[in-house]
Symmetry: C2
Subunit: 211 residues, 2 copies
DNA sequence: CGTAAACAACTGATATACAAGATGTGTTCA
DNA sequence: TGAACACATCTTGTATATCAGTTGTTTACG
């Protein structure tokens, strides 16, 4: 879905604004104001909102208005559960399907994340961690799984930014992907799946403890 | 996403038309003609097409036109792979989470499917089989997984209709869900997952043999 | 005779304008 | 003083019109 139409520009811009919290959860959206702010017409903005609603990034209440979807605890648990379901399967498949280039790229990314863990710049950590997961999904080369996973990863990114904004993370809240990478490099699907499951359940538990 | 706006009506109608092959794969879509045929304006139809494109039911080629997405063998294999990834995880979760009402409803549906297998009305079989999978996903009560799974199930339904249209199925191509149901009723997540995996890999192999 | 360039027609893409529904406020009556 | 009804305003939803881009065809030139 390459951005060439105004509608695609609006979609990409709005998604960015929602995920990086420039439009925080529960923000009400005024179509006309937003359109002139983006320098676009109302029609392409509307088309973009319709698509974002399918991703559940915004919630359209017919004849009442559109709002950035709020982020409740049940929602967050759904995100984690869905990620676990899809990404564990993805890790299993990727172990068999990854090319040497994939593994090399992944190793670089994982090392970057490990450096990020030593710093206190959690924004950079989040971005690089996100990149690892996106790359992993990319390995499978299945657009349908990719669609689903990318959406979940963005929801997840939005959540962590929100979560850490007021409660900056301790160092051990920033997890490594060393086990996962090692499993992939030894082409061990079951171990890769287990590593991913461990990775996701651990981070989920870090959230649940706080609530 | 309840249908009340014209845009929702257009979305639901078009999705039906695509999945039941009234609009076969690769059909080119003329917005104006379609709008007047549906008795709607062009704008809501456009919004609906934008959403259908996100589901990959139609393919928008900017400034060139919109077509119902074709159905190639690699696409079909992606559908099966994605279904296996998601639905096996769903089956695992559902085994622990299903209520007694869920199990009762599922049992009725599975028995209906088993009756369908005795007949030659593959359309009815497809609909009831679809209903079983939809119900199973519903049990998990996770809208994100539901979004992803429902989409895949519709893609799958479209494929089977296409596939069996010219090659009507033999009786053993119509699979049962007896094993899955029995695993769910004994609350055995691993067995439920295994039953689902067996179900899906078997039907995938039935396709691959023919190509 | 073949190829390339220009033109015309079609169709999608966006902007402008209009209509309808919902919400909040103000006034009036109990 | 409180509650209910009506009105006004705001915002979404839809239709119509205009603009721009792509494609296919035709014509002219090599």
């Amino acid at each position: 879905m390459p951005a060439q139409r105004d509608s695609d520009i609006a979609y990409a811009t709005l998604q960015d604004m929602i995920v990086d919290l420039r439009l925080p959860p529960s923000t009400f959206i005024n179509e006309s104001a937003l359109a002139s702010e983006l320098g676009l017409g109302r029609v392409p903005v509307r088309e973009a909102l319709a698509r974002l609603a399918k991703d559940r990034f915004v919630t359209i209440m017919p004849r009442r208005g559109t709002a950035v979807t709020p982020l409740t605890l049940p929602d967050v648990l759904d995100i984690f559960e869905a990620r676990e379901t899809i990404e564990c399967g993805v890790a299993y498949i990727a172990a068999a399907r990854a090319s040497e280039e994939d593994l090399a790229a992944l190793r670089t990314l994982v090392e970057t994340v490990d450096r990020d863990r030593e710093s206190t710049d959690y924004e950079q950590f989040l971005l690089d961690d996100h990149a690892v997961h996106v790359r992993l999904v990319h390995i499978v080369q299945n657009v349908l799984l990719q669609d689903a996973a990318d959406r979940l990863l963005l929801h997840s990114l939005r959540f962590w930014r929100m979560h850490w904004k007021n409660r900056p993370p301790s160092k051990d809240a920033m997890l490594s992907h060393a086990d996962l990478l090692s499993a992939l490099e030894s082409r061990d699907p079951s171990r890769a799946e287990a590593a991913m499951r461990d990775h996701l359940t651990t981070s989920r538990q870090l959230v649940q403890i706080l609530f």
